[in-house]
């Protein structure tokens, strides 16, 4: 039986989420201070190395987001209840992931321009990131195709699993492809950075902070998606009532 029960959206005014937000905010401030002031400049790149503290964490979070989307999708498909909560989590994670991926591409491009004079490099990571960006835009388009929520969930889950399959495939192909060319050791900007203790710490700290930001964003977006779904269900109730009312008694 597939009665549409109005699912209660997961609350976001809890103490836990508020603390999460505060940690994310505080962490960002600390990260900014560390990244912009307290860490040293790079011998070769000068101050432009500081972009690394944004570029690397956002890249990490973007990939995390898509793996998380795939995991939620798998959970939806193979779980007994075919939970719509998991479907919405997958969607929220992908949306946030696309944003982070956009930031990764832009910061990577700027960093390359500042350090090496070129806005783009065909190295495996950047190329794969660009491809994934388009792929997940496609995933979001599939989510918008309409139909019942269960239909959307099943369809999106399968596409998400195909999409996550792409990560290793594209990365691997590009890796082998670029290794053929003489500029094989394409000097990725951060491949050439000698990092002292504080820089390394800041980098790792940055990853942690951005992951926290990611979690906070996904929780809130998930709630919004759940509310949107609930509104749609209410709309169905209204439409049913309207249809009943339009019936002319014979």
């Amino acid at each position: 039986m597939s009665n549409a029960t109005t699912s209660v959206p997961p609350p976001t005014r809890t103490v836990a989420t508020r603390n999460l937000g505060l940690i994310a905010l505080g962490g960002s401030v600390v990260l900014a201070l560390l990244g912009l002031f307290f860490t040293a400049e790079d011998v070769d790149q000068g101050s432009s190395v500081r972009i690394m503290y944004v570029h690397v964490p956002t890249a990490w979070v973007a990939y995390l987001a898509f793996v998380f989307t795939a995991a939620c999708s798998a959970g939806h498909l193979w779980g007994k209840k075919h939970s719509l909560n998991l479907d919405r989590l997958a969607g929220a994670s992908a949306e946030v992931g696309v944003i982070f991926m956009g930031v990764t591409l832009v910061t990577g491009s700027l960093w390359g321009r500042l350090s090496w004079g070129a806005y783009w490099q065909w190295d495996p990571r950047l190329t794969t990131t660009a491809f994934l960006f388009v792929t997940y835009v496609g995933y979001l388009a599939v989510r918008g195709l309409g139909g019942t929520h269960q239909q959307r969930a099943k369809r999106s889950a399968i596409v998400a699993l195909f999409a996550v399959l792409e990560i290793p495939l594209v990365h691997f192909s590009v890796l082998i492809w670029r290794s053929l060319h003489q500029e094989a050791t394409v000097l990725r900007p951060n491949g050439d950075v000698t990092m002292d203790g504080l820089m390394l710490f800041t980098l790792v700290f940055g990853v942690a902070v951005f992951t926290t930001i990611f979690a906070w964003l996904v929780l809130h977006r998930n709630r919004v998606l759940a509310l949107l779904d609930a509104v749609e269900l209410r709309g169905i109730d209204a439409a049913l009532a309207a249809r009943r009312a339009e019936e002319v008694t014979p």
Partner: protein, 230 residues
């Protein structure tokens, strides 16, 4: 839903698709000229014999990719015309069989296209191929087509039903098929001897194409049914 039933369904669907194409000649009368024109237009745009010869492999596979979009759209349009695809779903026909049949028919059509495109490259871009290169080229075409077809059938099935869906196919398919493009182009470079590549260097890429094809085929067989079942 035994294996033999799936094979029987696949065979029936593949031969049905090919027979329809044979009757209607849409591919040969419309799409083939399109692909040929694309090859000619590349020459206009690049305007340099040396460059054309070097990039010929890439051009062949780019033209193949664009052509595949049209071929897949047509393949599923045939199903949607009189709601035959609904009828197939309704009859409880194993979706894996339908998928594999569609992939088989697509592979055949794509290989024919690539043969024509390769010949055009030989003529228009002054590429040379010896016997060993030819063997490599044929193998590349078959395995590359398999990878493209396996993915295209999945996304094609998704994009057929409903408004605003046709434009989804390029968006979903082209990023996903990138690994195949990379592998097929490198192998073809070796077959054509472009840029000093030797034939022997192409075979590892062919191996890679086989792996991609197998992965996509496996994924598609599992995913096609649930994905197209509204």
């Amino acid at each position: 839903m035994t294996v033999s039933r799936i094979v029987a369904v696949a065979r029936a669907v593949a031969s049905k698709d090919l027979r329809i194409e044979w009757r209607s000649r849409v591919m040969t009368n419309q799409v083939l000229p399109f692909a040929a024109i694309v090859m000619v237009l590349f020459a206009f745009a690049l305007d340099n014999d040396g460059i054309l010869q070097r990039v010929a492999p890439g051009l062949v596979w780019m033209a193949t990719l664009f052509t595949s979009l049209v071929v897949v759209q047509r393949s599923f349009a045939v199903e949607a015309a009189d709601s035959a695809i609904d009828a197939l779903r309704l009859a409880g026909v194993p979706a894996q069989g339908v998928y594999l049949g569609k992939v088989a028919a697509l592979v055949v059509q794509l290989v024919v296209f690539e043969a024509v495109l390769a010949v055009l490259a030989l003529i228009l871009y002054r590429v040379n191929v010896d016997v060993h290169g030819a063997v490599l080229l044929v193998t590349t075409c078959i395995l590359g087509s398999l990878g493209i077809a396996a993915l295209a059938a999945v996304y094609g099935g998704l994009s057929v039903a409903g408004r605003g869906r046709e434009t989804l196919l390029p968006l979903l398919l082209l990023p996903a098929v990138a690994p195949v493009l990379i592998g097929a182009t490198r192998a073809t470079e070796s077959a054509f001897g472009s840029d000093g590549a030797r034939v022997a260097e192409g075979w590892p890429w062919v191996g890679l194409l086989a792996v991609f094809g197998a992965i996509f085929l496996f994924g598609g067989t599992l995913g096609f049914g649930p994905l197209t079942d509204e």
